[in-house]
Symmetry: C2
Subunit: 335 residues, 2 copies
């Protein structure tokens, strides 16, 4: 019997529980990049890391720490899921560039430079203006490059993203978004940006969040798979992966926190609206973690080969992990 | 014998000591707006407030809390100095709009929206680009207006400052800067900006920091006073005050902290240079707090009347305090 493939979901923020860890195993997920924070400061982020460390310690037959690509192989061999930590905002580094190395030492492997709003590093996709990277942002990217903390521009704005690609000496990512030529949502990305990202060795993870999908909750698996096929022609199969943005079992208070944090007195509905303020329903072919293998079925139906499907479903992210989670020769750390 | 005038220095960051509190009394300063933080977060700012609260408690014959214009009158009557707290950055509110009211309740009366760099609210004058106010910035100004925390744009960039004037329903300030038509330093302000500020009821405090002065440390009192005379013609006497930016007795490590905070690995020299990294020497007619009355002498020599001198030296700030430190009718607070 052939060894099962290596599946990686490179962005989730579910309301995790033993039932969902069982789903990860059933779905064959060898690695999941989980979000550790949206607006939290350093101390609160450490608390969230402790919560995750305890999940992993409490479920040794299901989970293991994800720090390197080798951890994904180990998880795959033992039928477990390697959990990689990531930050959807730079709020955990506060105004302190020294916290970049500290967070890497605590296991963090991805950090967004902004989340919807202007940050100290870069602009978010909901701001009216986009001045690009700040003075602190340029220094932060160099430090992230040095220690091996990957830049993620999923919630950042266009010019800031172009400048991050240009400024970074290592490939960067958009872990969870779709092309705006397929569905012109504010969070989706232009052809030119995805092209610049992937030309520089970066990767995009396709999102299954309904606001990022053509036809929203009514998007068909075939629609999604056809989008991936066009993207493969335009950007090459090796630049593509999945970052589902799945918020399984989360209450609507969580999406309100994501959108409003502590910065807003007025209520911001983000991609939703006053009429639809909560999480939108998932498409019926991707209701949760258990459905991750369905994506492979859809990709096969639009003509991808078995090797190409294996790449998109996990091996591309695995190669990206191999190359980008370690320190540079000049940047060796104690972590 | 005539009652002594009310002098107000609306921006200092000295290394305070009993000797300097004696100088305040000798100089006849009835109020000083002291800087409480440059890059500190909320908790660290509270610690700095505690330090100042203890200074005031320990020197009851010299100092008193400054919260309202009435406190300035009380200080003046009793020969003391009312100490008003201010923030040169928005770092103390972190990403939490609720901290604006909390800081006002703790006695803070001025807050800069940015300090040289991009902040979560507005752009600093050292950034290459200036996109104006952020989404959070617009909400923060409304909240500052509500509780009576005055917006200060001294270290912000031009467009952000214009937008703050426009967005704010109450007058704002530039507590410490000079006109760039007199000395084109990066921190000084354009004619158009000072005009917009003062047309909207705002005030500018003239700075005695050598990098803001024509001829730097060699600036003469007559040069400074002539600049004030031209500014009075252009903007009206009532819009003018003093914010000396005096850093008396501070070690050079302090100016390095101001410029670099925790955000920079490379060393930033700000208005200085590698050849002159420290604090520049003060002009010999304004070496410290004791020399505050010299400004009045200089103003008399260029032809200001006694009433005009009293206005510039303190009464204009006093009127500004009267109108801008209280909550709006809709914004009554417990502070």
């Amino acid at each position: 019997m052939a060894k099962p493939p290596i599946f990686i979901d490179n962005l989730q923020y579910a309301n995790y529980s033993p039932a969902l860890f069982d789903e990860m195993a059933a779905a064959g997920l060898s690695a999941v990049h989980v979000t550790i924070c949206y607006h939290e400061n350093f101390r609160q982020t450490v608390e969230n890391i402790i919560t995750w460390n305890r999940h992993i310690a409490a479920h040794p037959h299901r989970l293991m720490f994800g720090r390197t690509a080798a951890d994904v192989h180990a998880a795959h061999s033992s039928g477990r899921t390697a959990i990689f930590y990531g930050l959807q905002n730079c709020s955990p580094i506060e105004d302190d560039i020294g916290l970049i190395e500290i967070l890497h030492q605590l296991g963090v492997r991805f950090m967004q430079l902004s989340y919807n709003n202007q940050s100290l590093l870069a602009t978010g996709c909901y701001e009216a203006e986009d001045p690009g990277l700040t003075r602190f942002g340029r220094q932060a990217i160099r430090e992230m490059n040095r220690v091996g903390l990957v830049v993620d521009m999923s919630h950042s704005s266009e010019r800031s993203s172009f400048e991050a690609i240009e400024c970074s000496s290592r490939p960067i990512t958009i872990t969870h978004a779709n092309p705006s030529w397929w569905h012109p949502a504010r969070r989706n990305k232009s052809h030119e940006l995805i092209e610049a990202l992937t030309d520089a060795g970066g990767m995009i993870g396709f999102s299954l969040y309904p606001h990022h999908l053509k036809k929203g909750s009514g998007c068909l698996l075939a629609d999604f798979a056809e989008m991936v096929a066009v993207a493969a022609e335009r950007y090459g199969v090796h630049a593509l992966g999945i970052g589902s943005d799945l918020c399984q079992d989360q209450p609507d208070s969580v999406v309100e926190w994501m959108r409003n944090g502590r910065w807003s007195i007025e209520r911001d509905f983000g991609e939703g609206s006053a009429a639809q303020p909560g999480f939108p329903p998932q498409p019926n072919w991707f209701e949760g973690i258990k459905d991750f293998p369905n994506i492979a079925v859809g990709l096969a139906e639009v003509g991808f080969s078995a090797d190409e499907i294996a790449d998109i479903m996990g091996l591309n992210w695995l190669r990206f992990y191999e190359q980008n989670f370690g320190a540079t020769a000049q940047g060796e750390t104690t972590g």
